[in-house]
Amino acid sequence: MAYTEEELKKELETKEYEYGFYTDIESDTFPVGLNEGIIRKISEKKDEPKWMTNWRLEAFSSFKKMVEPEWSNVKYKKPDLQKISYYSAPKQKPKYKSLDEVDPELLKTFDKLGISIAEQKKLSGVAVDIVMDSVSVATTFRDTLAKKGIIFCSISEAIQKHPELVKRYIGTVIPPKDNYYSALNSAVFTDGSFCYIPKGVRCPMELSTYFRINQAGTGQFERTLVIADEQSYVSYLEGCTAPSRDENQLHAAVVELIALDDAEIKYSTVQNWFPGDKNGKGGVFNFVTKRGLCHNRSKISWTQVETGSAVTWKYPSCVLKGDNSIGEFYSIAVTNNFQQADTGTKMVHLGKNTRSTIISKGISAGKSQNSYRGLVKVGSRAKNARNFSQCDSLLMGNNCGAHTFPYIEAKNNSAQIEHEATTSKIGEDQIFYCNQRGIDTEKAIALIVNGFSKEVLNKLPMEFAVEAQKLLEISLEGSVG
């Protein structure tokens, strides 16, 4: 029987979330609520130095003066920040020396996620830092990395062991006052990853962080800080899942990247938080602030595959401060059922001869809304800045929406900026053409969707491409060949 777009649509609508299980691990959870006491307690629990506690409190005091922004093209019920528990950690916590010591229940969780740590360690050569609920539970491959001088650990450990680096760089790219959710994160962040690549070192393997929200009634507030010193290179991967719950869970992370002179950072995200069920109930609110700072001749490249979350609201950005620096943004955002995404990027050109590329692909199905919102800004001193942006949207069915809100600001006459956007559905003529050549409709749709997102998929590191493919399959199963 011929496979039609109708059927694909139906399949998309009924497809269930595969990672929606919940692992029964005893955990140590704080009472709900947000106040100075809780923040002090988090800091105390993590045995943080005084400057860190003060930094958190300062962030909290500016947070209290802020109101939640409303300008985005998404509708949701604002999360009640007083009803969230800000700290939750698997109870059998102490440090693990090797994988054998890890709680077997926990290992099972990761097996289910298809990221068996042991297996990963052996087969794919990816170093993984895993953050469950609020606390980093395992970091693999640390010794191999340490030999090269690379620091890859949880941020709480970095605060203990490398306070000078953390103190110097934390909050420099995204100041706590930057926005409502970054202020909240700065006040209550519980863990996250920290990575430092020393001068001239090329990181021999992909570094990876895996986030999972497990407990009910908790929020996830992690903080990632990646510093690539002069002439170094690192490729960093990030993945995430959460159990299926009726309530909306909040994920408000902050990611800061710093690429010093001649350094290169490649940051890839495969975001697969629980998107809510097919009636739009539950799901994760993904309100993340991500920004990278480029010094001279450095390069930051963001690649993201967004398939999950009930509401996504994030703009991984590049501040091209140094001369000859390069920013890139490649994104596929797939929304289905009642998901909403308002995502895009900001490219701020400040240095001379800076270049940026934006490729954004949106696929909307079901009753979802998918928006691209981006800013390309060329400062008056940014001579010869160059930007190319392309935003394509694919609509499947008549109940979804695709929107484009690009902001382009040029203050220098030598700037060259191009922006293109198109919105269409899978063309009947395209399918007809394929049919004509003996490709059935199912394969044809697969081919077209695959071709549509190929530019971005190609940018993912090999080790991750497999997983990204898998995630795309969840959202568009039957269509990706």
Partner: protein
């Protein structure tokens, strides 16, 4: 006293010689309340993000000219489309000038808003059309509505082709030290009819003048409306133009905006559809210098299937000038087979020139073809080199390329004499004489 307060307190004086029980006046009173509540838009409003009115409204403008000014024909003849016979509705400092005008009631009505508002024979038209598509919420439109008194009123009955183009010109004589004008136009084009309209605002002396104009245009079934806006005013004059267009099935409506002058110009252009197979065209050429600022804010609301819209705005900015383009295409779920296109190309000639562009698509229907493109760049060096290697001096070569750049918009101007006029203006602006017509 702030200017906003002055506008509100002067309202009593304005009301004095009006019929307060009239339904039109209820519109006015309601609109004033909206303005009182909202005030002038600030940069905090998303749609005014790149244009600040603060400096503009921080000034004490005269609202009503104290004495009637008169102008000699020879003084202003050059502003008319003199080599073509036209209907003319001319205002001096906001007051109708019968001496300069050429109105008609023969087969079609080209006359005054004040007449239409008061004469019983127009009552039906006013009740059906007045203030029906102009925004009730937008504060500047509301301000204009509250002071509705004068402007042009054009009614083209069924199956009528307006043989002559219609010119609407507002002169500011400079008799007042400063002036705030609020003309209100209503244009109704009935089934199977056609009309061409040219609008311009011109100051004769460099006194501060701000015009906050609202125009409502209704294009009925199979109607053709071509509207040309010439904005080449002195740098002391500013313009806020709010144009609302409603189109019925099979109608074509086009608006061409040529922004070559003025201090601050804001064009709010809104299109609404009530039927299928409509064509909406929005085109503009902007050439600025000095500290001029032009902001094009467009919106095409596709609410019916099988309609088309084309937007094409070209901008050339030198010195410290600033250009803004804020275009929106909204496609409702029901508007399948929509074909909407939006393009904004800009050339920056100097270091300090700025362009802010925000082309937006908001699409809720799946079977549509919507695209937009936006570029910011410079003149193609290679093309310039090619021209110069053929012996064309740099200045002329640049001018040629500017023409070529703007030509897409110019070529769809249907009135030959107007096209020639605009070509001449662009040449003058660029300081060259190419010796041939394009």
């Amino acid at each position: 006293m702030e200017f906003k307060e002055k506008l509100i307190s002067s309202y009593l004086a304005f009301e004095e010689d009006l019929d307060l029980l009239d339904s039109v006046h209820q519109n006015r009173a309601k609109a004033l309340k909206v303005f009182e509540k909202k005030g002038f838009p600030s940069k905090k409003d998303e749609s005014w993000k790149y244009t600040s009115l603060r400096a503009l409204v921080n000034f004490d403008y005269a609202l009503f000219p104290r004495s009637e000014a008169s102008i000699e024909l020879k003084e202003v003849k050059k502003y008319f489309l003199y080599d073509t016979d036209t209907y003319k509705v001319i205002f001096i400092d906001g007051v109708y000038s019968p001496f300069l005008s050429n109105t008609t009631h023969d087969g079609l009505d080209v006359c005054l808003m004040s007449a239409a508002l008061t004469k019983p024979k127009y009552r039906n038209l006013i009740n059906t059309y007045f203030n029906k598509i102009a925004s009730l919420e937008e504060s500047l439109t509301a301000l204009n509505t509250s002071y509705t008194k004068e402007g042009a009123f054009i009614y083209i009955p069924k199956k009528t082709v307006a043989e002559k183009p219609i010119e609407i010109i507002h002169f500011a004589s400079g008799k007042e030290h400063s002036l705030w004008l609020q003309p209100r136009n209503l244009i109704v084009v009935d089934k199977n009819s056609q009309v061409q309209i040219i609008e311009r605002h011109q100051s004769l002396k460099d006194h501060p003048v701000v015009t906050n104009s609202v125009t409502e245009v209704y294009a009925h079934e199979e109607a053709f409306v071509d509207y040309y806006k010439l904005q080449n005013d002195l740098t002391s004059a500013s313009l806020i133009d709010n144009t609302y267009i409603q189109q019925a099935k099979n109608s074509h409506a086009s608006v061409h905006t040529f922004s070559l002058g003025g201090k601050l110009v804001r064009n709010n252009l809104r299109y609404y559809h009530t039927g299928q197979h409509i064509l909406s065209t929005l085109k503009g050429v902007t050439i600025l210098e000095g500290r001029q600022h032009v902001d094009h804010s467009t919106m095409v609301h596709h609410s019916h299937p099988n309609c088309e819209s084309h937007q094409d705005y070209k901008g050339i900015f030198s010195e410290r000038s600033e250009g803004v383009f804020n275009g929106q295409i909204l496609v409702e779920k029901i508007a399948q087979k929509t074909n909407a296109f939006q393009q904004n190309n800009n050339v920056l000639l100097d270091d300090k020139a700025t362009v802010n562009s925000k082309p937006q698509l908001e699409i809720y229907a799946d079977d549509v073809k919507c695209s937009h493109g936006c570029t910011i760049g410079q003149m193609d060096e290679e093309a310039l080199f090619y021209l110069r290697s053929r012996g064309i001096p740099k200045k002329e070569a640049k001018a040629l390329m500017t023409y070529a750049f703007a030509n897409n918009v110019l070529e769809s101007v249907k009135l030959p004499s107007l096209k020639k006029r605009i070509n001449g203006q662009i040449a003058r602006k660029l300081g060259v004489n190419l010796g041939f017509e394009l």
